[in-house]
């Protein structure tokens, strides 16, 4: 069984004015000039390198770190590299107010934990880069300095795929 409760250091994706970024699109996460790369292990170095103020994210992030972002994270293209680049970096989870529809499926199907926290933008000041956040995928509870936030728990299919590893491993487990 994989861990359903994780803890990690936060990167709160804010713009130069200090506001939580909404609508971080797939070109900001993984720019189109790297689309010819097919080896997942080579994708991490380019994560967020087209997001103003976060160009050096890949150098700073450590395995197990968590991302916090605003609404509609991963809007745009269906490119799975925008999920795989974070898997390559070994991030623990992405917490956002909401996710782009295809991005959400790509993340679930590749076993990358994503957690939607409705109303996150309104309480963005509760989260700071460097804070340590605990996330329970099963209950959706987030804990930070004794404060708790109720996010959406993993759906059954999301948990099953996550536990198996990815969609392929999940499919094999059903045979």
């Amino acid at each position: 069984m994989k861990e359903t409760r994780i803890k990690g250091r936060l990167w709160v994706l804010t713009d130069p004015e200090g506001n939580l970024y909404d609508d971080i699109d797939t070109d900001m996460i993984f720019h189109n000039r790297y689309l010819h790369i097919t080896d997942v292990s080579q994708m991490g170095q380019y994560a967020l390198d087209n997001l103003k103020g976060w160009e050096d994210f890949a150098q700073k992030a450590q395995p197990g770190d968590l991302i916090v972002a605003g609404k509609n994270f991963g809007a745009g293209s269906s490119r799975q590299q925008a999920v795989d680049c974070f898997r390559a970096l070994g991030l623990g989870a992405i917490v956002a107010e909401s996710f782009g529809a295809i991005y959400k499926r790509n993340a679930i199907n590749s076993g990358m934990p994503i957690v939607a926290l409705p109303g996150l933008t309104g309480m963005a000041n509760e989260f700071e880069t460097g804070d340590v956040l605990a996330v329970d995928f099963e209950t959706g509870q987030l804990t930070l300095d004794g404060k708790t936030f109720q996010a959406e728990p993993f759906s059954q299919v999301q948990m099953d795929i996550y536990q198996a590893g990815d969609l392929f491993a999940y499919g094999k487990s059903l045979e």
């Binding site: 909404d22 609508d23 699109d25 797939t26 070109d27 900001m28 720019h31 189109n32 000039r33 689309l35 010819h36 097919t38 087209n50 609404k71 509609n72 809007a75 745009g76 293209s77 269906s78 490119r79 799975q80 999920v83 909401s98 996710f99 782009g100 529809a101 295809i102 959400k104 499926r105 790509n106 199907n109 590749s110 759906s155 059954q156 299919v157 990815d166 969609l167 392929f168 499919g171 094999k172």
Partner: protein, 417 residues
């Protein structure tokens, strides 16, 4: 209580009496669309450990993103796709030059009312213009669909967007959808099934309806649909060679939101850099200098789009400092445009004709921008860096607005030309 389009089509496909939003269902799609990314998907497919795709007649593969290949890497990708197609006995394969996947798929009869289509491209909702359920997926999923012939889907909540009013002259479907996205924002329809209805839509051509469903992706929609009518049936006649069962939302269906627009006084709309929902009437951005003007893409590369541009440029010449690119969405569109003299009109006016395909829309080739340059394009996406330099600017507008702007060298209201 009645059901929305998506509830009915997914229930039928899943073999269930009815389904509710939020429910997870497993269905067998009628078609799986993939493009140049088939090479990566095929590589993932091989990792699964099955030799044969579940159903070679499910696959529709179109090479369109970087065609002809711009360099050795792309050429190797295309070669891998051709080999995969031959090995798997896939018949619905369209090589370079046939056109953009979202144009070629319906032209070749792979979209029909009540059908279920998934595709490894975010603009797959386009095919909802034919009354199909059509949604974008990622490449892991596409590989899994190839292997199993099945996909899990969460039944979306539904929005009904009702558009009424007669569109003013030189105002078109593109202006309608930009206005709606500007209003609802980039995440306004996140994971929703969007039904477009109303008098304006009924009177709109199939080509115009495809603009709406194509761009619904830019407000996060899972799928978008226009219910089939005589226009749809006429368009599909001779293309779809089998019967189909049309699916309509029930009149008493329950919607999360019903949103109404009256477009009788709508001005041409422009999306400003760097998000599609940063929309303003053209009058607010008129006068902004441009270096490049593009008519084409899966959003606006059809005959009526080229005709709208030609109507403005016929007998005139574009501004000396502007590069104008025209990319018909398919071979069929290109041939019709040649026959009707539209190609001649545009090229005589100074436009550069490119081959049917995605062209520079995704920044790979055929018209990328240098820093500080600006393009006005009929495409669907203006993300920072999408067409080359991250320091360049992309404005989105209708074919008429793009043509009017090419003529003057600055963003121009087509109603005044």
């Amino acid at each position: 209580m009645g059901h929305t389009f998506v509830e009915k089509v997914l229930a039928r496909k899943a073999g269930l009496e009815n389904v509710v939003p939020g429910q997870i269902v497993t269905v067998r799609p009628d078609k799986l669309l993939t493009h140049d990314n088939t090479s990566a998907i095929a590589a993932q497919f091989r990792k699964i450990g099955v030799d044969q795709v579940a159903d070679p007649t499910m696959n529709v593969i179109v090479l369109d993103h970087v065609t002809p290949a711009a360099n050795e890497t792309y050429a190797a990708g295309h070669k891998a796709v051709r080999e995969f197609v031959a090995e798997q006995g896939i018949t619905a394969f369209y090589d370079i030059g046939e056109g953009i996947c979202h144009q070629v798929l319906p032209e070749k009869g792979h979209a029909w009312p009540g059908g279920v289509i998934v595709g490894s491209d975010s603009h797959t909702p386009t095919h909802g213009a034919f009354g199909a359920f059509s949604a974008g997926i990622g490449r892991t999923e596409a590989a899994a669909v190839m292997a199993t012939g099945q996909i899990w889907l969460r039944v979306p909540d539904s929005f009904r967007i009702v558009v009424n009013g007669r569109l003013p002259e030189r105002v078109s479907a593109k202006d309608v959808i930009l206005h709606i996205i500007g209003d609802l924002r980039a995440d306004g329809a996140d994971y929703r099934s969007v039904e477009f209805a109303g008098r304006t839509i009924q009177n709109m051509s199939v080509s115009g309806r495809m603009v709406l469903t194509n761009m619904a992706a830019e407000m996060g929609a899972k799928n978008a649909v226009v219910e089939p009518d005589d226009q749809t049936r006429a368009w599909l006649k001779g293309r779809v060679k089998h019967g189909y069962e049309e699916v309509f939302a029930d009149p008493d269906a329950s919607y999360e939101r019903v949103i109404e627009y009256d477009v009788s006084d709508l001005a041409p709309q422009v999306a400003r850099p760097h998000t599609v929902d940063n929309v303003a009437p053209v009058t607010e951005v008129a006068g902004t200098p441009i270096n490049q003007a593009l008519v084409g893409t899966c959003t606006n590369g059809r005959l009526e789009d080229l005709e709208a541009a030609a109507e403005i440029l016929r007998g005139r010449h574009i501004a000396p400092n502007v590069r104008m690119l025209v990319l018909p969405a398919s071979r069929e569109v290109l041939l019709s445009a040649i026959e009707r003299g539209i190609v001649s009109d545009l090229v005589t006016a100074g436009a550069t004709l490119l081959n049917p395909g995605c062209g520079p829309c995704l920044g790979a080739h055929e018209g990328c921008m240098a820093p500080a340059e600006a393009t006005i394009s009929t495409a669907n996406r203006n993300f920072k860096g999408r067409m080359g330099s991250k320091e360049a600017f992309i404005y989105l507008g209708s074919p008429a607005t793009v043509a009017a702007s090419a003529l003057t060298g600055v963003i121009t209201d087509p109603r005044g030309i």
